[in-house]
């Protein structure tokens, strides 16, 4: 056990400086308040909204991909019927190779159609733009916020996390270029952007919190100011 831990354990009882106020004891002893169902309803509403957005997104992506697959099926069926009308009433053995010959080029056409640019790329580009703008906005805000007193190294944790997320984003993009787009990769990309926004938000909050504290405790003359380079 470390010395600091020992010290704190020994003086734990003496450190109970924040006693709960008398109002709290009144609340605890009184009948349950209406607050809890409200919280539950809020949570359920938020959860439902999130679920609806997610379902719409997944359905949209599936719809776009399925639509293409169904488009190719009728063309195969039509071309398949044409040679059948030319088949004379001869032996079945002759018919089989003719049908096969006609099917092969049709299958190639279907494959060629599939190789057309996937609409999910357009979808991905659009949300990349939107998220990118949000991330840049947050970054500009943070760069413009003066930071007082603390060592800039204090924020290295945030920088490291952002750097890691940039790497994650790069590897997902690389994977898309290499293997093509997929729903999983799109979701991964969305997650990275959301995480970036979360970290930037936490960083902004941490800076604000620290600035308030330092400005309250330190005389204005001895305040050190710097700007984060992220």
């Amino acid at each position: 056990m470390g010395e600091l831990k020992k010290y704190l354990q020994q003086h734990k009882e003496e450190m109970a400086f924040d006693e709960p106020g008398p109002l709290l004891w009144e609340k605890i002893t009184s009948p349950p308040a209406k607050k809890q169902p409200g919280k539950l309803v809020k949570f359920v509403a938020r959860f439902a909204a999130a679920a609806v957005v997610l379902v719409m997104l997944v359905t949209g992506i599936k719809f776009l991909t399925k639509e293409k697959a169904t488009e190719t099926i009728p063309s195969v069926a039509k071309l398949d019927q044409t040679p059948a009308s030319h088949i004379p009433d001869t032996a079945v053995k002759i018919v089989t190779p003719e049908i096969k010959d006609t099917i092969k080029p049709v299958q190639n056409v279907a494959i060629k159609e599939k190789k057309k640019p996937d609409e999910r790329y357009a979808l991905m580009n659009s949300f990349q733009d939107s998220y990118g703008q949000l991330v840049n906005y947050q970054l500009q805000n943070i760069r413009a916020t003066p930071v007082y007193a603390e060592n800039p190294a204090y924020f290295n944790d945030f920088k490291t996390r952002l750097y890691q997320m940039d790497n994650d984003e790069a590897s997902i993009r690389k994977s898309i270029r290499k293997n093509g787009i997929s729903n999983t990769l799109i979701e991964q990309l969305i997650n990275v952007y959301q995480q970036k926004l979360d970290v930037l938000k936490s960083l902004q909050q941490e800076i604000n919190k620290m600035n308030t504290r330092v400005q309250q405790e330190t005389p204005p003359d001895s305040l050190n100011k710097f700007y984060l380079n992220i």
Binding site: G2, E3, L4, K5, Y7, L8, Q9, H11, K12, E14, M15, F17, D18, P20, G21, L24, K27, I28, P32, Q36, A149, N151, Y154, N156, D157, F158, T160, R161, D198, V199, S202, L203, E206, K209, R213, E217, T218
Partner: protein, 143 residues
């Protein structure tokens, strides 16, 4: 653990509600204090589980922690120490309080907070480092 008086009051109230609802589960009335405390700590963990920024542990940090010779924490009053603990950033404050004051192991903290053991260690180290720096500033300003 919350670093905020009003949050602490809310959590305490919720913990009492939980305790009253589940009072039938308490088999030994003598252990009520410990049982309630565990509920309060769990509520604190649940309250602050999301939105923390975590950093990883490195070997260099282990060395600096082991080399710490001076008992800087005893150079200020318990009140100042308590104040500075409350001002620590959310994630590392929870880890610090759980480890140093509530005597949790890093493994238990990792399980409860849903992070890795090394993250728990690094957050504890970060808390110590920040506390030391801030207490030194306090001494420099107020003597």
């Amino acid at each position: 653990m919350t670093g905020n008086y009003s949050n602490a009051e809310d959590i305490l109230q919720e913990a009492f509600m939980t305790a009253f609802k589940n009072l039938v589960q308490l088999k030994d009335p003598d252990s009520f204090g410990g049982w309630l405390k565990r509920i309060v700590v769990n509520e604190c963990i649940r309250h602050g589980k999301n939105g923390f920024a975590w950093s990883e542990w490195s070997e260099e940090q282990t060395d600096t922690l082991a080399d710490e010779a001076t008992e800087w924490w005893s150079t200020v009053s318990l009140e100042v120490l308590h104040k500075e603990i409350k001002k620590l950033p959310d994630g590392c404050r929870q880890v610090f309080v759980l480890y140093a004051m509530e005597d949790y192991s890093h493994r238990d903290i990792a399980t409860d907070l849903g992070v890795s053991e090394s993250t728990s260690k690094s957050q504890y180290h970060r808390a110590r480092k920040l506390l030391r720096e801030r207490i030194n500033i306090q001494i420099a300003i107020h003597g």
